[in-house]
Assembly symmetry: C2
Homo-oligomer: 153 residues x 2
């Protein structure tokens, strides 16, 4: 699937790329480089970090994966996932670390409106929520000892 896009653009298809692409497609959401490398090595032990990064770069260039920001409180690493047609909303629980993705037609509408009103040609749009999920739902915001709190509105 993704591989076809590359072939269509006459990009050389190597064994490593095939594996990396498979892993990305099977893994679904928010895969990071480390995990991608790890999963890929299960199928091709010799594969290198650099190849992972270079392949990601290539896929981004063709618009086949999107790069996500680190959610709040995460180390400065990046996550990747196969592209989807509709834009997702990402909801990260700052307490348990769980990340949920979903769609919203109001969000779709907002995107359209923004594009029209600003004359901005949108290539990527990213909506991320950070907070406490229903299951965790912190009774009160800690004052001085959580260390990962980014906001307190």
């Amino acid at each position: 699937l993704l591989a076809d896009h590359l072939l269509a653009n006459s990009v050389r298809m190597t064994a490593q790329r095939r594996v990396l692409i498979e892993v990305i497609q099977e893994a679904g959401e928010h895969l990071d480089a480390r995990m991608l490398l790890q999963l890929a090595r299960r199928r091709m032990p010799g594969i290198d970090r650099a190849t992972v990064y270079r392949t990601i770069e290539l896929l981004k260039k063709f618009g086949l994966v999107s790069e996500l920001g680190r959610f709040q409180a995460e180390r400065a690493k990046r996550y990747y996932e196969a592209r989807t047609n509709r834009d997702r909303i990402r909801m990260a629980c700052l307490l348990c670390g769980r990340v949920d993705c979903f769609f919203s037609s109001l969000f779709d509408r907002l995107k359209t409106e923004l594009s029209h009103q600003t004359g901005f040609e949108i290539h990527v749009i990213r909506l991320e929520l950070g907070g406490s999920c229903k299951s965790c739902c912190a009774p009160k915001r800690p004052d001085v000892d959580v260390g990962s709190t980014e906001d307190g509105a």
Copy 2:
């Protein structure tokens, strides 16, 4: 202003903190650690990187600054700004690098709706757009040589 919040929580107010806080407030949007250090050094040459990061950490802990993601194509650095009451939308032009912030009531509405529908207690919300601004407005999406394209929808 920000300083008062700290004092109210009986946080020790040092010379360095005073300077850093001033700079953050005067600088406005998307300041990164490097720039913050640079500006602060104009007023207090000896100030150290570590102090900058530690102060940012402190301000985040009290909810006085929010941490923003890197926009598309940026190196993995983080930006900081004094907090505002209303949530802004951030629009980054991938061609000229310009970043604009603005508000939208539809966005405000979306936030409320999400919170209600998901039972998620939102602490931070971040909406970022990446694309081409009106002035740049690329006639066509480049295929293979921009290097910063993240998406092609």
